[in-house]
């Protein structure tokens, strides 16, 4: 390991490596904390996705049911004609929010639900069932916009979670063990050198005593 890092067994190098190991450990701790926080965020978004998706499905199901009823009562062509008359543009305010460096979308819709008068079709020639259909689809639309925001947030948070996990694992299983191995190698080498020096000194001392 130490050879792979190409290090020289000196005290200076040992100090540098110890500093790097402490930085790596601190980095690893913080990345783990970030991972924990991302997991909290991810599960929270997932919980809301499940909640909103169930609501949207229920709402869409009742919207399609009321559409069928309306078509049966008013007729398909008349319903389609009324739908064409009530076309609209939806104002969505798209901004971003940051979740630990992850840019997640925020969609805010001013007003999706409209009153029967605002919808644009004739109230005189249409059935009240059509109002119910329109209202149901408007509520569905609001829920679908919310769902889109949440699903995209879940996707980007999951991506960041994966990246953070990879980095934390690289630190935990490759970089930190490599640094610790190098430190161990230098400590061992320095101890060895000290022992060599000690025995050399002893021999020199013994030789000098023999001569003297």
């Amino acid at each position: 390991m130490a050879q792979a890092l190409a290090i020289s067994p000196t005290r200076m190098e040992l100090m540098k490596l110890r500093r790097r190991a402490s930085l790596a450990k601190r980095g690893h701790e913080l990345l783990r904390e970030k991972m924990d926080a991302l997991i909290i965020e991810f599960f929270e978004v997932l919980r809301r996705v499940r909640e909103v998706r169930a609501k949207a499905f229920d709402q869409l199901s009742s919207a399609y049911k009321s559409l069928s009823m309306c078509m049966a009562r008013m007729g398909t062509i008349e319903t389609q004609q009324a739908a064409n008359e009530s076309k609209r543009e939806l104002q969505i305010e798209a901004s971003t929010r940051l979740v630990m460096g992850v840019l997640t979308p925020t969609l805010e819709v001013r007003k999706v639900e409209r009153s029967a008068l605002e919808r644009g079709y004739s109230l005189y020639t249409t059935s009240p069932l059509l109002d119910e259909v329109a209202r149901n689809f408007e509520v569905s639309l609001r829920l679908l916009i919310e769902l889109a925001e949440l699903e995209e947030s879940a996707r980007v948070i999951a991506g960041e979670l994966e990246r953070t996990k990879r980095r934390a694992n690289a630190l935990e299983y490759i970089i930190i063990p490599r640094l610790l191995d190098s430190i161990k190698f230098i400590v061992m080498r320095l101890d060895e050198m000290e022992r060599e020096n000690f025995s050399r000194m002893k021999r020199i001392k013994a030789m000098m005593e023999r001569r003297g």
Binding site: L23, T96, G101
Partner: protein, 133 residues
């Protein structure tokens, strides 16, 4: 050396989402598009419903003192899963939201409480990773 640089970049990247400058709740409430600019230049918007919830919790004087986003400071020396909230008004608001007793200008919260706080204030709170200590 390359590894040191990579590690430093990684540690710096942890806090790039923090705002260059925090704004008060009062300013946020009176702004048409309440937001802050992060260190990396991106925009972090606050949801109006959250601002209104906070506005109801504190008086007008405290609205000027409450700086947004509220920082959830993660410090390794506190132990895994613990975080610190600092600031008089911030502590008051967070302890009220969590139903926890909080006095002074410092409050320690733990993982389930962090999750609850983030659920209640997803845009008006942010994580801060303390690299020192």
């Amino acid at each position: 050396m390359k590894m040191d640089r990579l590690l430093k970049v990684e540690l710096e990247r942890l806090n790039l989402h923090l705002p260059k400058e925090r704004i008060s709740l009062y300013e946020a409430l009176s702004s048409a598009k309440p937001h802050v600019v992060a260190k990396n230049g991106s925009i972090h918007s606050f949801k109006r419903e959250e601002l209104e919830l906070l506005g109801k919790m504190v008086g007008e004087e405290a609205q000027k003192k409450l700086r947004l986003p509220i920082l959830i400071s993660i410090e390794p020396r506190l132990g895994r899963g613990a975080a610190r909230i600092t600031g008089d008004v911030e502590v008051k608001v967070v302890s009220q939201l969590l139903g926890k007793e909080g006095r002074g200008d410092e409050l320690i919260i733990y993982r389930p409480e962090i999750a609850l706080l983030r659920r209640k204030l997803p845009t008006t709170s942010q994580y801060l990773f303390m690299c020192t200590g």
